[in-house]
């Protein structure tokens, strides 16, 4: 038997002879340092070129849709935090708005503006993370650190409002958990100043950078037609030259009352996606600034006589029937209920007793409030939308985030379907990487900004 070459030992008989080569199969992932997310790509390689790729997902499946069917409507809100865990607020509001559509109620003006503000802050966080991580994978570690620094300023804002950084659970069906804290506008402007500075620095580091452009321009491109055929929305669609944005096409909340532009690209490649995301962050900041200026309700004045009481004494007075003037006395709420005092409760929540829990002052101090509270909490009595179904779409950071909810008239959703924005791009990932080099898989995959939580649900 003829001596086997090293090549034959590794690649099997026949390689290196005849036509010269055979294809090599490489498994990328599920856990791989170049993959910021758990997915599995089985790539068939010819040399360094990807000939065929099979993308496998599902490693982060947690039965989101099944779990939502088990509890009352508001119980699904913590699960929606974990869909897109980089911009959880948008998921929260999207789900709550879909239930509100089923109920046929309209939230208060102030609540709409708060939702706009918080959604846009989340969108900036999401884009910062996406660009930072993609740049890091191409070797630009500085950019990642700068971006995370800016994200930290924004997450502090989120923490101020919601009390948490990631698992925020801030939306409620019919409103939000709490009003914006004092001095929020000022803090936001400070954070935006820092963010703008970071974006300027990053722009100088990346936009026009020779190495960065060599890796990004013309890589991972999808044509306009193919992008639409794959139902890809968000920055990837806009990078291909289609100015579709749910915020503009079918405005919800207060998006029809703020001015913003929809940045678009031309080539649909990774570089255009990067440029679109950079431009969108500036637009988001514009939206937040306008929304904060226009925030209805103005400053929140708490103007009551008498000192705040602790809840226990409050309940005691209520039980003893000493209710005269009781409801005018403010109550010291635990820190996780701050921003939901009686004077602001109606500003951020819809005035519908079938949907929103009453302010704690009424629950503790009056029998009507207590009954209202229990009617919403008791099993089988909570929010009960009439039988029917509704689809509601918001513009998530990665594209159209849709919720499709079917109600059977009980207090639990019969079916909750989430249309994750990064699902269609992942279905098209093989089209972006086939025919390109192995090293190009990394920026193309990064440009999708895959979020396992919403992809696998």
């Amino acid at each position: 038997m003829a001596e086997r070459t090293t090549r034959e030992i590794y690649l099997g008989e026949g390689s290196g002879t005849g036509s010269g080569s055979q294809h090599l199969y490489v498994n990328m992932g599920p856990a791989h340092p170049a993959m910021h997310g758990i997915i599995h790509i089985v790539a068939e390689l010819d040399g360094e070129t990807v000939v065929k790729a099979d993308v496998e997902i599902g490693y982060l499946h947690r039965a989101f849709e099944k779990e939502c069917e088990r509890g009352p409507y508001n119980n699904a809100i913590p699960y929606t935090d974990r869909l897109n865990y980089v911009s959880p607020l948008i998921n929260n509001f999207g789900y709550a708005s879909c239930v509100e559509k089923l109920l046929g109620i309209d939230v208060s003006e102030r609540c709409k503006y708060i939702r706009v503000v918080m959604s846009e802050i989340s969108r900036i966080c999401d884009h910062l993370t996406c660009i930072g991580a993609s740049a890091m994978e191409l070797g630009a570690f500085t950019v990642f650190l700068y971006m995370i620094k800016a994200r930290e300023y924004l997450w502090e804002l989120v923490e101020d409002v919601t009390g948490a950084r990631l698992t925020i659970s801030y939306a409620r069906v019919g409103g939000v958990k709490a009003d914006l804290p004092e001095g929020f506008g000022l803090k936001t402007r400070k954070a935006f100043k820092e963010t703008r500075q970071v974006l300027e620095e990053v722009g100088k580091l990346l936009t026009g950078n020779r190495i960065f452009m060599d890796r990004m321009v013309g890589v991972g491109a999808l044509s306009r037609e193919e992008t639409i055929a794959y139902a890809i929305t968000g920055p990837l669609l806009r990078a291909a030259g289609v100015a579709y944005d749910v915020r503009r096409a079918q405005p919800y909340w207060a998006y029809d009352r703020v001015e913003f532009e929809i940045p678009t690209g031309r080539n649909g490649d990774n570089y255009d996606r990067y440029l679109v995301r950079m431009a969108e962050m500036e637009q988001s900041m514009r939206i937040v600034e306008q929304a904060l200026d226009a925030l209805p309700g103005g400053a929140i004045n708490v103007d009551f006589q008498g000192r705040p009481m602790d809840p226990a004494s409050y309940v005691d007075l209520g039980k003893q029937g000493k209710t005269e003037g009781l409801l005018l006395i403010p109550i010291t709420l635990s820190p996780n209920l701050q921003g939901l005092e009686k004077p602001v409760h109606h500003q951020v929540n819809v005035a519908d007793k079938r949907v929103v829990l009453p302010p704690k002052e009424e629950t503790y101090g009056s029998i009507e409030g207590l009954m209202n509270h229990f009617m919403l909490i008791m099993d089988g009595n909570g929010i009960r939308p009439p039988q029917g179904d509704a689809y509601f779409a918001v513009e998530g950071a990665n594209g159209e985030l849709g919720f499709y909810i079917v109600s059977d008239g009980t207090d639990r959703p019969y079916r909750v379907r989430c249309r994750p924005p990064c699902f269609p791009p992942m279905a098209a990932l093989h089209r972006m990487i086939e025919g390109e080099m192995v090293a190009d898989v990394v920026p193309s995959f990064g440009s999708i900004n895959m979020i396992g939580g919403e992809l696998d649900r």
Partner: protein, 165 residues
């Protein structure tokens, strides 16, 4: 064109093959006969005044325990369409029986249907005729049952699986 006239357009073209149409909370829905599904989808995509170029979402609902529908067709496959040019949406539904849970595949019309349909097969066990590669998408190959069916217990255990080879 608004949703109502889109529905009208469908009913005048397809007549009895559109089982029913309705609008609820601003969403317009047409329930389509299974045999007409591909024709209706193609019509929606290609007619200039409908122009539904996006298959935004494809999912399914199991109506096994829905009050009043326990005996009717068990599943509904739901298509959400969106038109970029006209900025309108439409929902199409196809009802299928449990013992004949098959729907023609929409992959020839929209490539994104490939993964959507794989997910529906995975979660509900509905087969898509003509699908090029109907494998499970989110669960693993050895998974038994279809978890989003209403009769799949939420605490059901799955058999342990070993390495393939």
């Amino acid at each position: 064109m608004d949703g109502q006239s889109a529905l009208l357009r469908l009913t005048t073209t397809f007549g009895g093959r559109i089982i029913e149409t309705h609008a609820y909370r601003g969403d317009h829905t047409a329930v389509v006969e299974r045999s007409a599904l591909l024709d209706v989808l193609r019509f929606c995509r290609d007619e200039a005044d409908l122009g539904f170029d996006f298959l935004m979402d494809l999912t399914s609902v199991d109506y096994l325990k829905y009050p009043g529908r326990e005996f009717g067709p068990r599943f509904e496959v739901v298509y959400h369409l969106y038109s970029l040019a006209h900025n309108h949406r439409l929902r199409l539904k196809v009802r299928v029986e449990e013992d004949d849970a098959r729907v023609p595949s929409a992959v020839p019309l929209w490539p994104v249907a490939n993964w959507f349909e794989r997910e529906v097969w995975d979660m509900f066990g509905i087969r898509f005729d003509g699908h090029p590669d109907l494998r499970r998408l989110l669960m693993y190959e050895e998974f038994q049952g279809h978890p989003l069916r209403k009769d799949y217990p939420v605490n059901k255990r799955q058999p342990l699986i070993g390495p393939k080879n």
